[in-house]
Symmetry: D2
Subunit: 247 residues, 4 copies
């Protein structure tokens, strides 16, 4: 039954992840993943109270064991259900600074979450997405979305750790898209090019208009629109920026 | 009044242009442009009969005089109305073949429509789009969309005329996007990477599944989704391909 | 006889063109093309006096007739000789400014030289380059080089005319490279990303070190190095910038 | 003293690495690094016998300790000498195959060498390259070159491990180039797009002409040409393919 399909959002924080959870929860039960339960607990309650259904699972996407355990919980909760949409929004440490001062462990740490974590997550989510692709009653093709950044396509000075991880993530997204599109899974990568309006960026661009930052809800809406594309119209990459962004 | 805003589709044929006209006609009165009235007359009737409002104007987008005349007609029809959305979907002769056999006039002809035509069209549409940007009651930011192709990003052997024109169009779209986004106009470019399912391609990919071709209606829906993005979330480029496309 | 092979530089001004003429004149008789003979006359004398061989031909690369006439002169001068290297360095008017103020004729004029001119030039040079490819005594594969700019890969606001022409030129170069590499012609595109140190830019970046500008001679040396690459190692695109360039 | 400057080639195997070692040994004492001494021992002897100077150091570039030890040996050998050129040519396991069968350790292993190894190597080589940048008697700017592949810019299906590592390496190269160019270090990335002619590829493209494969010596010559570029003309990326390559 298509009605049993659920959505997963990995990397739930106060911005894109939370907004995606809210948006996809309008259509599907949602699974929220974050390392720190503080990041999803309030949101899980909020969604469950407002008529949706959500569960949260503390997950370290860079750990195979942790992701194994998370998907075991998902299967326990949703039994044979398929996955209609999976959003990978996790990001590792923002490794940057002068190259000669970059700690190798920070460089690795950035990649561990942003790229290795994306692989591990994708390997777990894809079988459930493929199940949805086989479901003739599914309303929309199963969708796997990776959140990128300016650094996915632009490697600036002193941004090596972040850029390496994000360039790699983009390659991963494309490679998976090419392998799984013929199997009916829609894979997309979003280049988020600008500052997202979240509590942590409250004081950034302070003297600029409201439209100088990206709205997290607007990203979520764009992700939802990717999800609703038909098998005859897959978009594999979008860029997103606020109207005042210079690029 | 936002209610008076209209949409324009330039380059109406049996595929993307017609589908866009139908899609945007659900929300706005539409202006359909094509050189040959045969390309829009039936569609104008269809839209007007089904509760929408459409007018068709025979236009050669590569001619300043012709576009001047077309926009004079638009102003006569819609008075002070603003333009909510403009889709440039015209394409010149498909100039390709061995380079040494390429006729310079075919090369020029391809660019004349696809790129020079896009400039002329944009110069006429932008003042009307800017007017919509100033309309605080406007539901969505004014949107200018250019239709590209595989050849917008990939210049294959024997495709020089088509690729030169489409690379140039992509540059035009980006340059306009950067200039007009801060003024509130959302400019986007779509890389249509695959065969669109239209009468002329009926016999292409014949032994392949339905999902080997792109649905024109699906493109139109994606364009509509671009139009509905907020000022805090402009997508400036999307790619579109059917699930079975190799890329 | 390979010894009879010559080189052509189209678009000889005080910078890259002149430097290429001098560099290639060390190995080949050279043909210098520019619209205005003032741009090559002194240089022709200089090369001829210093032991090289050069002729200059007043040519408007955007005109088929003019290029026809130029190549007729080349054939009259060099009889059956092949072309070892051809550098297309011509650039049209630097069409830029606010889009709504851009004159269509300036936009066209930019493209007419930079892109249509490149096509016309290539169509004339390629048969002579192919002749060199067939010459087993040729020391280096015949080489066709197109000079691009930052705007070949980056379309900034208010740069539409220049960027459209340069994006198109890059597509042309790639398409020709793919068609003619298997025939033994090496085609390359150079993204010159920075200010070239010529008299006209004397007052630019004035308070910056010498290495803030690109040396025209250095570009010429890089072009020569492209020319000396073997058939087992064709580089189809290089970027060039001075050490202090921000990118 | 510029005469004391040396060159390092990391990732010496039978192809590009060995060819670079031979080429740079014509001008500088060279340090050859490979995990397995079998990969450099014969070559070290060959260079030393033929009038050059070479040492080999068994190094695992993915290990900080191993690279620390290698550079300690270099300093013991070359005392205060600067590094004129460093070529990073190491590549990890060629992780590819269906995504759902990809072992996470293979994915990590590919990246560990190709990207993390490149970071560790660069962090050790850059101080020695900077020393050469300060040497006013240096003939050419110090140069750091990273060897990429088709997968650096194209992420095909079932190539995720290799492509992720190579996309990341390209980002690393660009980020380092932007940070260190203003300090006088020339950083370049080479997209090697085709099969290199080495013993291991002897039976590949067997029925094709000699020019269907890339010559390792030709790559080395191109790297040398990058090294000789002046501070007013840095090329940060080249692509390389044989004349018969389809792309």
């Amino acid at each position: 039954m298509a009605s049993k399909a659920f959505a997963i959002v990995a990397g739930v924080g106060p911005g894109t992840g939370a907004a995606c959870a809210r948006r996809f929860a309008k259509a599907y039960p949602v699974v929220l993943m974050a390392r720190n339960p503080d990041n999803y607990e309030g949101l899980v309650q909020e969604i469950n109270k407002s008529g949706g259904k959500a569960i949260g699972i503390s997950t370290d996407v860079s750990s195979v064991e942790s992701v194994d355990a998370a998907f075991a919980k998902i299967k326990a909760e949703y039994k044979d259900a398929a996955c209609a949409a999976a959003v990978f929004n996790a990001s590792g440490r923002f490794a940057r600074g002068p190259l000669l001062e970059m700690k190798v462990e920070d460089f690795v740490g950035s990649w561990d979450v942003s790229c290795k974590g994306a692989l591990i997550f994708a390997q777990h989510a894809l079988p459930l997405l493929l199940k949805h692709a086989d479901d003739s009653s599914a309303k929309h093709p199963p969708t796997l979305i990776f959140t990128g950044a300016t650094a996915s396509v632009k490697a600036n000075a002193q941004m090596s750790g972040f850029a390496c991880a994000k360039f790699a993530l983009r390659a991963l997204s494309t490679s998976i898209a090419k392998e799984f599109a013929p199997k009916g899974v829609h894979v997309a990568h979003a280049v988020i090019d600008g500052v997202i309006d979240i509590p942590a960026t409250k004081n950034w661009l302070k003297d600029q208009p409201h439209e100088a930052k990206i709205g997290a809800d607007d990203i979520a809406e764009s992700y939802w629109n990717l999800h609703t594309q038909s098998k005859r119209c897959f978009t594999n990459e979008i860029d997103i920026r606020p109207m005042y962004e210079k690029w």
